[in-house]
Amino acid sequence: MITAVKQKEMLLEPEAYQILRKYDIPLPASRYVCQENEAVAAAKEIGYPVAMKVVSSDIAHKSDVGGVKLNLENESEVRKAYCNIMKLAEQYGHCVDGVLITEMIKDGVEVIIGCSEDAEFGKYIIFGLGGIFVELFKDVSVRVLPLTSVDVEQMICEVKSSKLLTGYRSEKAKYIKGVVDIILKLSKLIEEENIAEVDLNPVIVREDDVYVVDARVFVY
């Protein structure tokens, strides 16, 4: 398929966070640090447990290279994780800018929200439930810009696995309004900024709140 070849570049996650914050998209508390002692201080400030993610323009898929450490419970775990990430980066020959320490967001339904560009219809938003639902079942829905809140509600209901959000068996309904809100804010963001592609994966939806836990943003 022939598409317009425009160079796109991935933002570092702290930069991605910045642009998402500008549009009031909910993110866990986070600190971007470049030293082991700073990492410990940041973790204490945020409160344990925390997550640590490598920040590097060389690394597109952080977890594939051991660049994501979850559920760090105390100072020694933070120090160990930091050294580990630096060592691995060295092994792979990646240049590392630092690490992002974030609040751990647990116990929710994982969804993905993305934006990309289509050869015929331009920018579109994609929504799906995370993990195997996206990869194995390709259970996603799509809407093109501009979109209304009704469009967004419909796209959420449209995926077969949406029952996991609306409540299934003993599971209570999740904060769908928050998901609608993120999609509307993201659509505003991509209309106003020079964005090529966004991949918010996962977004964790709980009963009363929702957080974008991992964000990849590509700009032209």
């Binding site: 289509d118 996603v140 799509v142 809407r143 469009d151 419909q154």
Partner: protein
């Protein structure tokens, strides 16, 4: 009225490249125009003949003594610019260029030249490289095959074969079409112009669109948002292999399948997967009002048909209507024990037109029924009249399923189709066509 009315409502036309040689399109198209019963004036144009198909033939457009509104052009590609220039001087308002050998063959400069000329003279043009135009209310069959029967379905197609197949099927079934337009290279008139035109056209009830790629995504969405009539779409290129083939066929750069599916849901267009579904759904929508709900009541002469229909209804996310207990007891008391009173309502081998009619009329008082689907699984003459009568007396829509009825089925189906009542030859196809019209999902709550 849009500028395109000068194309569809043309009161006179010239066939440039008309021929006496039956193997040439210049012969086929002129002969189809005549066979179609075109009421306007027809002028064959060809410098080599004095008579073509019995009509006086003119050496050129400028030799025709009267006004010509439409030029149908079937000449060698390099002659087209000169013909168009002449058409412009003659005051021709619309052109259908059947000739190929333009951008699709790498001759973009030649196509640009033609575009320049039509802009200069303000001519609207279909094609080039197309299979022509048919508008049955004007009995104007400037294409092939001959399709004469008027119906409510307008077909817009980026493939000549798809348009011809759909149109002929509709005629064979007694449904007919309002129009068939082959898009060709879309150098001027494109799918959006035609969607807008047929949306306003009083002779059209539903639009069937076969499209390999949209000309302009943003404009497509703007038009889609404005349309009032149902639009059924078949857009191939759902696989990588299909996309490659579309690219070769019409130079199309197709987008992603899931994006187009999203567009259809967002804008209320009906997206179909193959020719069969495409036809069935366009047929249903050209014959019914907007279906008000998903609750279907089955009244059947065939146990098997009823079972198949139940599976189809549930499988396609439609609903079996529920009859009130009160009505159920009343009907149970009235009819023989071996009838199954409920949904499906099984009349067994006792089924006859009067029984169908009585039961549908009684059940039509129920609030929870949106659509009646009588299933006729036997050769029962006279059901057409019964269903047509019932249709006039009730609020609900009727979608008929007729199968296993041999020659009687063919006859009865034809009678119903001619009166605008849709009949499908299997429970699944009837239900699937209905279900397709409900693609847009409801939102939360």
């Amino acid at each position: 009225m849009s500028q395109l009315s000068c194309l569809f409502e043309a009161k006179s036309l010239a066939v440039v490249g008309a021929s006496n040689n039956p193997s040439k399109y210049g012969n086929i198209v002129l002969s189809n125009i005549l066979e179609g019963g075109y009421k306007g004036d027809v002028y064959p144009v060809n410098p080599n003949d004095e008579l073509v198909l019995g009509l006086k033939c003119y050496p050129s457009l400028s030799d025709i003594p009267n006004d010509v509104e439409l030029a149908v052009i079937i000449v060698k590609n390099h002659m087209v610019p000169d013909v168009m220039e002449e058409a412009g001087k003659k005051g021709v308002k619309a052109a259908v260029i059947i000739s190929g050998g333009f951008s699709e063959a790498g001759e973009t400069v030649l196509q640009e030249k033609v575009i320049e000329i039509i802009k200069k003279y303000n001519i609207r043009m279909v094609g080039p490289n197309c299979q022509g135009v048919n508008y049955t209310p004007n009995k104007m069959c400037a294409t092939w095959p001959v399709i004469k029967q008027e119906g409510k379905m307008a077909i817009i197609s980026q493939s000549g074969s798809v348009g011809a197949e759909l149109g002929k099927k509709a005629e064979n079934e007694g449904i007919g079409v309002s129009a068939i337009v082959s898009l060709g290279n879309k150098a001027d008139v494109n799918e959006l112009d035609l969607l807008e035109y047929f949306d306003q056209d009083k002779n059209t009830g539903a639009i069937a669109l076969y499209l390999e790629a949209v000309s302009n995504g943003e404009a497509f969405l703007k038009t889609a948002a404005r349309l009032k009539k149902p639009v059924v779409i078949l857009k191939p290129g759902k696989t990588e292999a299909g996309q490659k083939a579309a690219n070769t066929h019409t130079n199309s750069i197709t987008g992603k399948r899931e994006v187009f599916e999203g567009v259809c849901r967002q804008y209320g267009l009906i997206n179909t997967d193959n020719l069969g579904e495409f036809y069935d759904c366009a047929k249903l929508l050209s014959m019914t009002k907007k279906l008000r709900g998903k609750k279907i009541q089955l009244v059947s002469s065939s146990g098997g048909g009823a079972v198949l229909a139940c599976d189809a209804i549930v499988g396609e996310n439609m609903e079996l209507a529920l009859i009130s207990e009160e009505r159920r007891s009343k009907l149970k008391a009235k009819y023989p024990q071996h009838f199954t009173v409920g949904n499906p309502f099984d009349l067994t081998g006792d089924a006859n037109p009067t029984l169908y009619k009585e039961i549908m009329l009684e059940l039509s008082k129920e609030e929870g029924i949106d659509i009646f689907m009588p299933i006729v699984g036997d050769p029962i003459p006279g059901v057409a009249e019964a269903f047509l009568e019932v249709r006039e007396m009730i609020e609900q829509e009727i979608v008929v399923c007729f199968f296993g009825g041999a020659e009687v089925q063919v006859e009865e189906t034809m009678k119903m189709h001619k009166q605008g009542l849709p009949v499908f030859p299997s429970p699944y196809r009837a239900v699937k066509a209905i279900a397709q019209t409900f693609q847009k999902k409801s939102s939360i709550n």
